[in-house]
Protein backbone atom coordinates (compact mmCIF):
# COMPACT_ATOMS: atom_id res chain seq x y z
CA UNK A 1 0.00 0.00 0.00
CA UNK A 2 1.35 3.37 -1.04
CA UNK A 3 2.30 5.70 1.81
CA UNK A 4 3.48 9.27 1.97
CA UNK A 5 5.65 9.89 5.02
CA UNK A 6 5.81 13.47 6.25
CA UNK A 7 8.31 15.11 8.57
CA UNK A 8 7.47 15.85 12.18
CA UNK A 9 5.80 18.78 13.89
CA UNK A 10 7.58 22.12 13.90
CA UNK A 11 7.46 25.09 16.26
CA UNK A 12 8.99 28.24 14.83
CA UNK A 13 9.07 31.97 15.45
CA UNK A 14 7.76 34.62 13.06
CA UNK A 15 10.23 35.54 10.30
CA UNK A 16 12.04 32.20 10.57
CA UNK A 17 12.38 29.92 7.58
CA UNK A 18 11.10 26.35 7.34
CA UNK A 19 11.17 23.40 4.98
CA UNK A 20 8.94 20.38 5.59
CA UNK A 21 9.19 17.13 3.68
CA UNK A 22 7.13 14.34 2.18
CA UNK A 23 8.86 11.06 1.36
CA UNK A 24 7.22 9.02 -1.41
CA UNK A 25 7.84 5.75 -3.24
CA UNK A 26 9.78 5.61 -6.49
CA UNK A 27 6.60 4.68 -8.39
CA UNK A 28 4.67 7.68 -7.09
CA UNK A 29 7.63 9.96 -7.61
CA UNK A 30 7.92 8.90 -11.25
CA UNK A 31 4.29 8.91 -12.30
CA UNK A 32 2.26 11.33 -10.22
CA UNK A 33 1.87 14.97 -9.34
CA UNK A 34 2.38 15.60 -5.61
CA UNK A 35 0.18 18.25 -4.03
CA UNK A 36 0.20 20.19 -0.76
CA UNK A 37 -2.93 21.05 1.21
CA UNK A 38 -3.27 23.43 4.17
CA UNK A 39 -5.71 23.05 7.03
CA UNK A 40 -5.73 25.92 9.48
CA UNK A 41 -6.96 25.21 13.05
CA UNK A 42 -10.63 24.31 13.00
CA UNK A 43 -10.92 25.14 9.29
CA UNK A 44 -11.31 23.39 5.97
CA UNK A 45 -8.90 22.13 3.33
CA UNK A 46 -7.07 24.49 0.95
CA UNK A 47 -5.11 23.28 -2.08
CA UNK A 48 -1.78 25.12 -2.18
CA UNK A 49 -0.04 23.76 -5.23
CA UNK A 50 1.63 20.72 -6.75
CA UNK A 51 4.80 19.49 -8.38
CA UNK A 52 5.60 16.89 -11.01
CA UNK A 53 8.84 15.30 -9.82
CA UNK A 54 9.79 14.12 -13.29
CA UNK A 55 10.59 17.60 -14.50
CA UNK A 56 9.98 19.67 -11.33
CA UNK A 57 7.11 21.51 -13.01
CA UNK A 58 5.03 23.35 -10.44
CA UNK A 59 1.57 24.88 -10.28
CA UNK A 60 0.43 27.11 -7.41
CA UNK A 61 -2.94 28.29 -6.22
CA UNK A 62 -3.17 32.08 -6.64
CA UNK A 63 -3.67 32.28 -2.86
CA UNK A 64 -0.27 30.74 -2.22
CA UNK A 65 1.78 31.90 -5.20
CA UNK A 66 4.82 33.75 -3.90
CA UNK A 67 4.13 32.72 -0.32
CA UNK A 68 5.64 29.22 -0.42
CA UNK A 69 7.95 27.17 -2.60
CA UNK A 70 7.38 23.55 -3.61
CA UNK A 71 10.38 21.50 -4.66
CA UNK A 72 11.70 17.95 -4.89
CA UNK A 73 14.92 16.05 -4.36
CA UNK A 74 14.92 13.26 -6.92
CA UNK A 75 17.80 11.41 -5.30
CA UNK A 76 15.70 10.65 -2.22
CA UNK A 77 12.20 10.79 -3.79
CA UNK A 78 11.12 13.53 -1.45
CA UNK A 79 8.94 16.58 -2.00
CA UNK A 80 9.24 19.76 0.03
CA UNK A 81 7.19 22.75 1.06
CA UNK A 82 9.13 25.74 2.28
CA UNK A 83 8.72 29.23 3.65
CA UNK A 84 11.38 31.94 3.71
CA UNK A 85 9.69 34.04 6.39
CA UNK A 86 6.95 32.51 8.48
CA UNK A 87 3.98 34.40 9.86
CA UNK A 88 1.68 33.48 12.71
CA UNK A 89 -1.04 32.94 10.12
CA UNK A 90 0.99 30.05 8.68
CA UNK A 91 0.07 28.00 11.75
CA UNK A 92 -1.71 24.97 10.33
CA UNK A 93 -1.50 21.29 9.46
CA UNK A 94 0.07 20.72 6.06
CA UNK A 95 -0.68 17.57 4.11
CA UNK A 96 1.10 16.23 1.09
CA UNK A 97 -1.02 14.06 -1.17
CA UNK A 98 -0.70 12.21 -4.43
CA UNK A 99 -2.77 13.29 -7.41
CA UNK A 100 -4.32 10.25 -9.03
CA UNK A 101 -3.71 9.42 -12.69
CA UNK A 102 -7.30 8.30 -13.24
CA UNK A 103 -7.97 11.21 -15.60
CA UNK A 104 -6.86 14.81 -16.16
CA UNK A 105 -7.53 17.03 -13.15
CA UNK A 106 -7.85 14.00 -10.92
CA UNK A 107 -8.24 14.01 -7.17
CA UNK A 108 -5.92 13.14 -4.29
CA UNK A 109 -5.87 9.40 -3.74
CA UNK A 110 -3.14 8.94 -1.14
CA UNK A 111 -2.41 11.35 1.72
CA UNK A 112 0.44 11.85 4.13
CA UNK A 113 -0.25 11.95 7.85
CA UNK A 114 0.17 15.72 8.03
CA UNK A 115 2.77 18.03 9.53
CA UNK A 116 1.68 20.47 12.22
CA UNK A 117 3.44 23.82 11.91
CA UNK A 118 3.10 26.26 14.80
CA UNK A 119 4.40 29.80 14.41
CA UNK A 120 4.46 31.79 17.61
CA UNK A 121 6.66 34.36 19.26
Amino acid sequence: EEQLEQSGAEVKKPAESLKISCKVSRNTFTNHWIGWVRQMPGKGLEWMGMIYPGDSATKYSPSFQGQVTISVDKSITTAYLQWSSLKASDTAIYYCARHSNSRPFSGLDVWGQGTMVTVSS
Binding site: G35, V37, G44, L45, E46, W47, K59, Y60, S61, P62, S63, Y95, A97, S100, S102, R103, F105, S106, G107, L108, D109, W111, G112, Q113, G114
Partner: protein, 111 residues
Protein backbone atom coordinates in the same frame (compact mmCIF):
# COMPACT_ATOMS: atom_id res chain seq x y z
CA UNK B 1 -15.88 32.28 0.66
CA UNK B 2 -15.34 28.90 -0.99
CA UNK B 3 -15.70 28.51 -4.74
CA UNK B 4 -17.63 25.31 -4.07
CA UNK B 5 -20.60 25.65 -1.70
CA UNK B 6 -21.54 22.92 0.76
CA UNK B 7 -24.05 22.95 3.61
CA UNK B 8 -22.28 23.33 6.96
CA UNK B 9 -24.01 20.30 8.42
CA UNK B 10 -26.39 17.46 7.74
CA UNK B 11 -27.73 14.86 10.13
CA UNK B 12 -29.68 11.66 10.08
CA UNK B 13 -30.65 8.70 12.20
CA UNK B 14 -28.88 5.38 11.78
CA UNK B 15 -30.11 3.63 8.67
CA UNK B 16 -31.34 6.80 7.00
CA UNK B 17 -30.09 8.35 3.78
CA UNK B 18 -28.34 11.72 3.79
CA UNK B 19 -27.06 13.77 0.89
CA UNK B 20 -24.44 16.49 0.77
CA UNK B 21 -24.59 19.00 -2.05
CA UNK B 22 -21.64 20.74 -3.66
CA UNK B 23 -22.60 23.72 -5.79
CA UNK B 24 -20.10 25.23 -8.16
CA UNK B 25 -20.20 27.27 -11.34
CA UNK B 26 -19.44 27.25 -15.05
CA UNK B 27 -15.70 27.48 -14.34
CA UNK B 28 -15.45 24.27 -12.31
CA UNK B 29 -18.16 21.61 -12.01
CA UNK B 30 -20.13 23.16 -14.87
CA UNK B 31 -17.04 22.94 -17.05
CA UNK B 32 -17.10 19.17 -16.67
CA UNK B 33 -14.15 18.93 -14.30
CA UNK B 34 -14.34 15.86 -12.09
CA UNK B 35 -15.63 16.08 -8.54
CA UNK B 36 -14.02 14.18 -5.69
CA UNK B 37 -15.22 13.66 -2.14
CA UNK B 38 -13.11 13.25 1.01
CA UNK B 39 -13.95 12.04 4.48
CA UNK B 40 -12.02 13.42 7.43
CA UNK B 41 -12.24 12.35 11.05
CA UNK B 42 -11.05 14.75 13.71
CA UNK B 43 -7.29 14.69 14.01
CA UNK B 44 -6.65 12.49 10.99
CA UNK B 45 -5.77 12.98 7.34
CA UNK B 46 -8.57 13.11 4.75
CA UNK B 47 -9.43 10.00 2.78
CA UNK B 48 -11.06 9.85 -0.64
CA UNK B 49 -14.48 8.18 -0.63
CA UNK B 50 -15.62 9.12 -4.17
CA UNK B 51 -13.37 10.06 -7.09
CA UNK B 52 -14.12 11.18 -10.63
CA UNK B 53 -17.74 11.99 -9.78
CA UNK B 54 -19.07 8.49 -9.12
CA UNK B 55 -16.25 6.02 -8.45
CA UNK B 56 -15.60 4.37 -5.10
CA UNK B 57 -12.06 3.33 -4.16
CA UNK B 58 -11.69 -0.25 -3.01
CA UNK B 59 -12.48 -0.55 0.66
CA UNK B 60 -15.07 2.23 0.70
CA UNK B 61 -18.52 0.83 1.56
CA UNK B 62 -21.08 0.84 -1.24
CA UNK B 63 -23.42 2.93 0.87
CA UNK B 64 -21.37 5.91 -0.40
CA UNK B 65 -22.29 7.15 -3.85
CA UNK B 66 -21.66 10.25 -5.94
CA UNK B 67 -23.58 12.03 -8.66
CA UNK B 68 -23.44 15.26 -10.61
CA UNK B 69 -25.73 17.43 -12.67
CA UNK B 70 -24.99 20.78 -14.28
CA UNK B 71 -22.96 22.93 -11.90
CA UNK B 72 -23.57 20.72 -8.85
CA UNK B 73 -22.58 17.39 -7.41
CA UNK B 74 -23.81 15.32 -4.50
CA UNK B 75 -22.55 12.70 -2.10
CA UNK B 76 -25.14 10.30 -0.74
CA UNK B 77 -24.75 8.02 2.24
CA UNK B 78 -27.45 5.38 2.45
CA UNK B 79 -27.93 3.21 5.51
CA UNK B 80 -26.15 5.80 7.67
CA UNK B 81 -23.94 4.33 10.37
CA UNK B 82 -22.38 5.83 13.49
CA UNK B 83 -18.93 5.40 11.96
CA UNK B 84 -19.89 7.75 9.12
CA UNK B 85 -19.91 10.73 11.48
CA UNK B 86 -17.15 12.92 10.03
CA UNK B 87 -16.43 16.02 7.96
CA UNK B 88 -16.88 15.66 4.20
CA UNK B 89 -15.29 17.86 1.52
CA UNK B 90 -15.90 18.11 -2.19
CA UNK B 91 -13.12 19.11 -4.58
CA UNK B 92 -12.86 20.02 -8.24
CA UNK B 93 -10.69 22.08 -10.57
CA UNK B 94 -11.45 25.69 -11.40
CA UNK B 95 -10.33 26.93 -14.78
CA UNK B 96 -10.70 30.61 -13.87
CA UNK B 97 -8.35 30.22 -10.87
CA UNK B 98 -6.22 27.56 -12.59
CA UNK B 99 -6.28 25.72 -9.29
CA UNK B 100 -7.95 22.89 -7.48
CA UNK B 101 -10.63 24.05 -5.07
CA UNK B 102 -12.36 22.53 -2.06
CA UNK B 103 -15.75 23.13 -0.57
CA UNK B 104 -15.79 24.42 3.01
CA UNK B 105 -16.83 21.03 4.34
CA UNK B 106 -20.00 19.45 5.72
CA UNK B 107 -20.25 17.92 9.16
CA UNK B 108 -22.31 14.73 9.12
CA UNK B 109 -23.90 13.91 12.46
CA UNK B 110 -25.53 10.58 13.21
CA UNK B 111 -28.39 11.17 15.62
Amino acid sequence: QSVLTQPPSVSGAPGQRVTISCTGSSSNIGAEYAVHWYQQFSGTAPKVVIYDDTNRPSGVPDRFSGSRSGTSASLAITGLQAEDEAEYYCQSYDTRLSAYVFGAGTKVTVL
